[in-house]
Symmetry: C2
Subunit: 240 residues, 2 copies
């Protein structure tokens, strides 16, 4: 969980929902600063095209991992789906709840229990494939996901190919990551908003090939890839 | 001078002029992050109203202190004024020069020489009254300005009243500043853009009363104050 006093994500999300021009600053451990451009409160028609397309695979009970402002539940619940929305940010949970998501809980991505399921669909949008974190954590988390889903379970995740860039800042970073034994796109970042800063955390971006290799032996296989704008894409995992 | 490898200001300014959506992140030493909202390449008609109004007092040869992207020279030179534009940022000097400012030099706010003058008008826009820095530096810099101007010299500066806010982050900061022997509005900040971060530096915001007291005994007096939007204002100094 992110402590309330460090919840830059949640505070920015809540401010954004309240109509402020709130922009989250993302700081990377090589000193890079960037602005979070994600629209957490976008209605379905303004979601990135690859996420909209991936939604065709949603079935049954849904687990939304890293729910943010709750946009997945807010779209799916009126359409008859049960959705458990989870996030480590107290401000995100508050925002998603106030916006109308029905079942929102302050839980880590691995915090759901078998009793909360079984789920048919696990959603990781807003680049939340990043929550797979690193080469050790990813298979562990995917195994947990396998445990709370039935045989027809599906994972829908969005990410971007980190190597699809000419920016020397990113290319240098990938090289530095490999030198220190990390995957190229395994970014160590924190979010800042006003006086709040989250703890530093790892977040994983993978090429399609890396995604396929990460998934091997976890009970899942890479079933489909949906191209998005620029380096972004969504992927669909199904039980092997 | 800001070393090239730390010139977040100049890199953002140059990117902005080249049409990128470049936003500078300002980091304060209490952990606050904010986005620089200043439009460095605005044409005169889009300058803040208090700066436009202060321009009525421009006469003769002009020293533009902290010239940024050169907007003061670009406005005044076609109208017959000689302008020496100075900035500590190599990227700002490059941007101002490429945009057409005629005499741009990489110099600190105290770097101008008597031989460069005499100046009739010294401009410190874009909140560059902040370059007065602190209660010790301000009178020293104003005395230098007195030395490079004639008897009819004028200083035109823009700033904001730091105490005209209800934001607890700022109110806490003013209190913390006073506890550590600084003026309330003496902010310690650095600018960040992509992987660049400037050194930390002090930048001074003052109420009108504080401005008046700072100026005493420097050869200048506070001759006029021009209200701007919200807490912003411009002030006019003339020789005593």
């Amino acid at each position: 969980m992110i402590p309330e006093a460090e919840d830059a994500f949640g505070a920015a999300m809540y401010a954004c929902w309240k109509g402020d021009d709130a922009r989250l600053v993302i700081e990377r451990d090589d000193g890079l600063v960037d602005l979070d451009s994600y629209d957490y409160v976008a209605p379905f028609r303004r979601w990135p095209s690859h996420e909209r397309a991936a939604m065709r695979h949603v079935r049954g009970r849904v687990l939304d991992v890293g729910c943010g402002a709750g946009r997945v539940a807010i779209h799916l619940e009126p359409r008859g789906h049960e959705v458990l929305s989870i996030d480590v940010s107290p401000g995100a949970v508050r925002t998603a709840g106030e916006r109308g998501a029905r079942d929102v809980r302050l839980l880590a991505s691995s915090g759901e229990r078998r009793a909360d399921g079984p789920f048919h669909t696990i959603v990781m949008f807003g680049n939340n494939a990043g929550l797979l974190r690193d080469a050790r954590h990813a298979p562990w988390l995917l195994l947990r996901f396998a445990g709370v889903t039935g045989g027809d379970g599906v994972v829908l995740a969005s990410t971007l190919d980190p190597y699809d860039t000419a920016d020397p800042a990113h290319r240098d970073y990938h090289r530095w990551n490999r030198r220190r034994g990390r995957m190229g796109g395994q970014v160590r970042i924190r979010a800042r908003f006003q006086r709040l800063a989250t703890p530093w955390f790892d977040y994983l971006f993978t090429s399609i090939g890396e995604t396929e290799r990460l998934v091997r032996g976890t009970g899942w296989h890479l079933d489909d890839v949906i191209d998005g704008a620029g380096p972004t894409y969504a992927f669909v995992l199904r039980k092997s």
